[in-house]
């Protein structure tokens, strides 16, 4: 690993002031540190944001659950409040990586990174999340731009993620057997009025499957999407799963999610 400067910011303002084109925020470090060790990324400055009090913690109101950006996966998976308000969100967190990763990795780091196979982005889409940054509020639907790409500007810091509490929801992941990231993960959330079917792992970026959402909004039963033949032309294909297999898994996992709701 190349040498770098370590800074610990005491608040959001200091953190974003320290940021530059050759810096990264250090949250859990579960993505940043391995990339630096493998020489895939080099930074001059790492700005530790874990000591910013405001960024950690979970708040539940009548309609929403708000999670501080530096809250660890393990905190979300263990939170009684989350379990009660949105049980599928806590079980999603429980299914990320392994205990070591969950004990360090954070929700903010996960969505800022926007790995096409990460789990949390699907929750953001399915649960109509609002991403609170030090500068503004961004709707999830406008936040995830593409592979490892988000609407964040340089130095912009995510402070919290606010999830809308659905009537029912479930996240079903078909994990990559090696890494246990999602080969396909489908987050189904039934809100008053409409249903979101957020899909991760299948394409270059998380998305809401309009076709399935529509079918399920009409009739919230797995039979209404059974046998659906999704277009696989934009789906990922790698040694773990071809595009066709992924297309089939999206429907299968969505059905499982609906049945589990």
């Amino acid at each position: 690993m190349k040498d770098f400067n370590y800074h610990s910011a005491k608040d959001s303002k200091e953190a974003s002031k320290l940021a530059s084109s050759s810096s990264a925020f250090l949250a859990g470090g579960m993505t940043t540190i391995p990339s630096m060790k493998l020489g895939l990324a080099t930074y001059k400055d790492l700005i530790d944001i874990k000591n910013i009090k405001k960024l950690s913690g979970i708040k539940v109101s009548g309609k929403s659950v708000t999670i501080g950006a530096a809250t660890k996966h393990v905190e979300v998976s263990n939170s009684k409040d989350v379990k009660k308000a949105i049980p599928s969100l806590s079980s999603l967190a429980e299914g990320i990586g392994d205990p070591q990763v969950r004990n360090r990795g954070t929700i903010g780091g996960s969505i800022a990174n926007n790995d096409p196979s990460a789990d949390y982005p699907s929750a953001c889409i399915a649960l109509n999340a609002t991403i609170h940054t030090n500068e503004r509020k961004i709707e999830a639907a406008k936040f995830f731009k593409g592979m490892f790409e988000t609407a964040l500007k340089k130095g912009e810091l995510i402070e919290a993620i606010e999830f809308q509490i659905p009537e029912k929801s479930s996240y079903q992941k078909h994990p990559n057997p090696a890494s246990r990231y999602a080969i396909v993960g489908v987050y189904v959330a039934k809100h008053k009025g409409d249903v979101n079917v957020a899909v991760t792992g299948a394409k270059s970026c998380v998305y809401n499957d309009k076709e399935m959402s529509k079918a399920l909004t009409g009739n919230f039963s797995s039979s209404s999407i059974d046998g659906m033949d999704l277009d696989s032309s934009e789906m990922n294909s790698d040694m773990h799963a071809s595009a066709d297999f992924r297309a089939s898994l999206v429907v299968t996992q969505a059905k499982k999610a609906v049945d589990a709701c």
Partner: protein, 792 residues
Amino acid sequence: MASLVGSRVERKEDKRFLTGKGRYTADINLANQTYAIFVRSPHARASIKKLNIDKALKSSGVVSILTGKEIADDKIGGLIAGWAIRSEDGTEMKCPGNPPLAKDNVNFVGDPVAVVIAESLAEAKEAAEKVEVDYKVLKAVTSTADAMNGDTIHEGIDKNLCFDWLLGDRQKVKEAFDKADKVISIDIINNRLIPNAMEPRACVADYNAASEEITLYTTSQNPHLSRLIMSAFGNVAPEHKLRVVAPDVGGGFGSKINVYNEDIVCSWAAKKINRAIKWVAERSESFLTDIHGRDHVTHAELAVTKDGKFLGFKNETIANLGAYARVFGTVTPTYLFGPCATGVYEIPAAYTNVKAVYTNTAPVDAYRGAGRPEATYTIERLVEKASMELGIDKTELRIKNFPTAFPFKQTLVHTVDSGDYVAGMEKAKQMADYKGFDARRKESEAKGKLRGIGVTSYFEACGIAPSAAVMSLGCGVGLWESAEVRFNPTGQVTVYTGSHSHGQSHQTTFAQIAADELGVPIENIDIVHGDTDKGTFGMGTYGSRSLAVGGIAIVNACKKIVEKGKRVTAKMLEANPEDVEFKDGEFIVSKSNKKKTIGEVAFACYLPGVRDEMKSPLPEGDEPGLKETSFYDPSNFSFPAGTHIAEVEIDPETGHVKLEKYTACDDFGRIINPMVVEGQVHGGLAQGIGQALYENAEYDETGQLMTGSYMDYTMPRADNFPEFNIGYTCTHATTNPLGVKGCGEAGAIAAPPTVMNAVIDALGGQEVTMPATAEKVWKACKNLKKSNAKAA
């Protein structure tokens, strides 16, 4: 005194391991040490046009940079194949040179071309990036099946063929096939695996300019053998000036048998720079450069009568050796494979033909089971297919062809001394509730799932091996083992063994054996291994040989101690040695009932005299001291055997295979410590099931390893397995005094066909290759649905 052999004695080594007090090679730091980083080829096949170290030499902290040129100039030898295999046409195998640092050509991604030695690891890494190598990239050969049609990798080795070997009689087989009612044939791939020991390879080399001695601490399964190879072939130093220490080693599975490039380079370079050098592999280096396992492409046929008697067997295999032939690289796909390929069956005629090919991939060598998993997979997949095609129950068909008497003269090479295969099968069926399977299948079907059951009956030849036999087959060394048993004057015992424990619990099981033989409490017995300066020469640990060969050497050395003790007791008590009996640590004169404890005898041996008398307690001709050595050369291999049964449930929508039940009923002969044996079985099963369902080393057509990290190479985890159902039948080996057979590899040998037979059973007989990943199984389920629809 109660016998310790057979009881669950707690592991002596656990205190050290569980409290973080293990001492592995990477824990060793020497004064003034430097750090090595190897510059490795990023290409699978290339010639080196130019190598420029000027910039790197100027990098901060650099002590030295050495390349293939210096190593060639110093006449340091390369890595070698330990077995000479002869082709069917009588010609000797063809092996390329394998210099520790490549000078002219690189042949796989990871092949080292230079070593950078610096004051710190970070500086070594930084400088290594500045070494400029100008490669002319050549077309790589990566496919096992097509290797013979690829460009010639090594000059002078036509068709990339190392040897084309035959075991058996083609003519007899042809005659058997002519008489057959039916021929079952199968095409299978034995997937390439990466051993993935938990501790990556490492070495620390030190040079003492005054004594001119090199000390190498390294992650080896066989330090004595490593020293021999490094000295005799590597020309690193004469044996008496080279000490090899393999301290705690965190798993080997065969991958740490070989002497590796880094061992030779660091030892040689430490002397050159007159400083200690430390190298620890990063995990990605382990993926690229540890030996890999398996990688066979096989076509096999079984000739049968309509009522299920086996008449003949053919096995045509292409085995991938990777870029170079290494220590057990050539014997693994031949003598460790061919003889076992006819399995536990009486088959009158058989042959195995193996074409071993070079490719631009990491060298392939012995990995847990070495050859026997490939053999068992071949025959057991074939037998399962025969049962489907003949409509004979899979267990009945096997029993029908089991040997009826022991010793069992197996078709090709081995004479199996002992066993009871029918009893093993019956017990396994009971343990697995074989009868209840149909009901369970119906339950699964009611949930929309597919359920399958798979059986494997195996035997394997381990406890390697009689020296005369292996040397006649081309082995470069004899495969005996040594032990030295030393009493201290005050009665504690140190046992030096040539075996090496890297997870096998020798410290405990060997001490159990010595405790029983000598009647000394186990707390007073220490097992020492892993250092060429301590104890006599030994051949190391692999091929489930530690107990069946190394353990017997301990028994024999103990017996010599007891013999001497009898003579000494007789002299002390003025009796005839023939009248002295030894039991539970006491020498008793049968006529007078007078006795001496073994501790008293040891004491007397070290202090041969008594106050006021000019009298030695030692009989004439006996020297002072109590220390005996044994070199034990086994008279035969040992032959563990057993039946395993697996049950899987498949979700046809996702292709997910869930291993529901796994039953292993093994015959390992006498069991020294059941707890340790369970651990060995569990580990072997995990690796065998890993091969069947998860693990696969995949290269792309340019020779890049696609599965070079745990993000892509699926190491099985605990939650992939059900609770294993383990049982034993126990027939003692007749060829060694303990009656032991060996248990280290059985799980890895039996599990792949057992699991795959279950998967394929669930899929209505459709073949899928290992590993049975979700996508492959999902596709097979779709086909099954289609063909069922057609049939309906």
